[in-house]
């Protein structure tokens, strides 16, 4: 479990509030999406969460241990893959890296070896375990970094942009693996990403930061539901649209976006189309995705 209470970071003489009274509680086994535009304060929050930065005020507890006062116990609960960093030694092999980080985490040699074998096998790196990480592809290096973060089987894992720069296959492997860690092993995963489709697919709950503050913290479905636009429909027609409709035609399919004040008005629109000889292909209520919600949240004063 991750507990963040009134976390604040103020930088320098200019008193810039990078993070302002952020509070979050993430339950065990949750995949938690931590989103926000560049400069929103995500990295600063993560650094405080990981004990790499001292907060101006507030508290972070990992698995019940205070990061500031019980650092060793808190870090024993935690593993992380940090974006923009190598995370592991490129001059060492995958096996040597896992043995090194496992021992650094305080595990017995036999336990590290057993765990390293499982992780490298799961991630498809067992055959290359003795190769230097520097010679690996970006996706393989990321897999080694993830394996190193999980070598001590921590109950809480931070994955910062885990699929950035990966090809489709590697992305799929990492996504499946994240889901498996949370669902089957009960690992709490804090996921930060700008790939909102990845967040939507994986996250049980999503928080959005903007200008150092949380502007949303809700279960993903609930967040999407809040932004569902009950008044927007998309009508697809075969062939051209009749006169009087604002339509877009691509590859022989015409799309009309309709905004109504009462859902029953949709029947009137369909009737008008039918009367003018249009052939209806589909009629759907527009469902927002996380990208729509995200853009709405970061461009408005506050939500949730």
């Amino acid at each position: 479990m991750i507990e963040i209470d009134a976390l604040t970071k103020v930088y320098g003489a200019a008193q810039v509030r990078a993070v302002d009274e952020v509070s979050l509680h993430v339950g065990t086994g949750t995949v938690f999406g931590f989103l926000g535009p560049n400069g929103a304060g995500k990295t600063t929050t993560i650094k405080m969460l990981a004990g790499l930065l001292t907060p101006t005020s507030g508290q972070v507890r990992l698995g019940g241990f205070d990061v500031a006062r019980q650092r060793s116990a808190a870090m024993a609960q935690f593993g992380a893959v940090l974006e923009g960093s190598r995370n592991v030694y490129w001059s060492l092999s995958a096996w040597q890296n896992l043995m090194y980080f496992g021992r650094l985490k305080g595990l017995r040699k036999a336990r590290v070896a057993e765990r390293a074998q499982d992780l490298l096998t799961d991630l498809g790196l067992w055959e290359r375990r003795h190769d230097k990480v520097g010679g690996f592809s970006r996706g393989m290096q990321q897999k080694v970094a993830i394996a190193a973060a999980l070598i001590a089987d921590p109950p809480i894992v931070l994955l910062d942009e885990p699929t950035l720069g990966l090809d489709v296959e590697a992305t799929r492997t990492v996504k499946n693996w994240i889901a498996e860690q949370a669902r089957e092993l009960g690992t709490t995963i804090l996921l930060t990403t700008h790939q909102l489709d990845v967040a939507q697919e994986l996250c049980d709950r999503v928080a959005v930061m903007r200008q150092g503050r949380l502007v949303a913290d809700l279960p993903t479905r609930e967040l999407l539901a809040r932004f569902r636009e009950r008044d927007r429909y998309e009508i697809r027609l075969e062939g051209a649209a009749p006169p009087g409709f604002d339509a877009v035609t691509r590859e022989g399919v015409t799309t009309i976006n309709v905004r109504v004040s009462d859902p029953r008005e949709v029947y009137d629109v369909v009737e008008r189309l039918r009367a003018q000889g249009a052939v209806l292909e589909s009629l759907t209520q527009v469902q927002p995705d996380l990208e729509d919600v995200f853009l709405a949240l970061v461009s408005e004063p506050s939500h949730a």
Partner: protein, 265 residues
């Protein structure tokens, strides 16, 4: 137990890196003895004088350790910061000082082949001049004092790196100053009194080199060292410097955490 395992892992990693960079180690095993011979040649105005070979040899061995312990550890630490690996060592239960001490032990082991190459060169050169390389087990004490005192210096430099990052010039300068003021080439007794006083006070290798010369070249006992400030200071100085190193490192690490300069992330 966590400390011991983490410390051992850090030493092992340092040795693996040493093996991976064996070409660099080999270059040092060639260049350091050459450098030693050149110094003796310059000091002897073109001659490998017997009275210079052994005193400079002892200074050069000490300098080999300080070079490895300061340069190797500083560059590996800076490299870890720049590549974004250092943060991962902070995400473990291991105290960060254990990581640096582990690096120090690996650096000391890494210095041994080069030091042995320098010693072999000195012994050969001395043999050709009709002399021989003396040995007295008591010399281990000043050598250990040099290694321990250099740990303190390295801790301070690593702490500075956490806050200020690009401090290569300070590192290079400190090794250069230590090479000159540590008595590696010229004995402290031959230096102006204020400089000799300062060197004995703060330069980690200075009392050690004086003691090594007294024991090996002068044939004196460890408990009756004629030059310098005696056995008490030989033992106290590296302990004080290391204690200062731990305190300074912790303060600078605290500052780095406060400013957010810990690592690259």
């Amino acid at each position: 137990m966590t400390f011991a395992r983490g410390f051992a892992a850090e030493v092992r990693k340092g040795l693996l890196n040493l093996l991976a960079g064996w070409r660099e180690a080999l270059m040092e095993m060639i260049t350091f003895p050459l450098f030693y011979l050149l110094i003796v040649l310059f000091m002897g105005r073109g001659q490998l004088r017997a009275d210079l070979l052994l005193p400079v040899l002892l200074g050069m061995v000490a300098l080999t350790f300080i070079h490895e312990q300061v340069n190797r550890v500083f560059w590996s630490y800076l490299g870890d910061i720049q590549s974004g690996v250092l943060e991962q060592t902070y995400l473990t239960p291991l105290p960060s000082a254990a990581s640096i001490l582990g690096r120090q032990v690996a650096a000391v082991i890494a210095a041994v082949p080069t030091a042995l190459a320098v010693l072999a060169t000195g012994a050969t050169a001395a043999g050709l001049q009709g002399g021989r390389l003396p040995f007295d087990a008591q010399v281990i004490v000043p050598l250990a004092a040099i290694v321990l005192g250099t740990c303190g210096l390295s801790l301070i430099l690593c702490g500075l790196t956490l806050v200020f990052k690009r401090i290569e010039i300070i590192t290079q300068l400190s090794v250069a100053v230590y090479a000159i003021a540590g008595g590696t080439l010229v004995p402290l007794a031959a230096m102006p009194d204020p400089i000799a006083f300062l060197s004995r006070l703060v330069v980690p290798i200075a009392p050690g080199i004086e003691a090594m010369r007294d024991i090996l070249l002068g044939g004196h006992s460890l408990v009756a060292l004629p030059t310098g400030w005696g056995l008490g200071w030989l033992l106290a100085q590296p302990l004080l410097i290391t204690a200062a190193g731990v305190i300074v490192f912790n303060r600078l690490e605290h500052l780095a955490r406060h400013r957010g300069t810990l690592g690259r992330y």
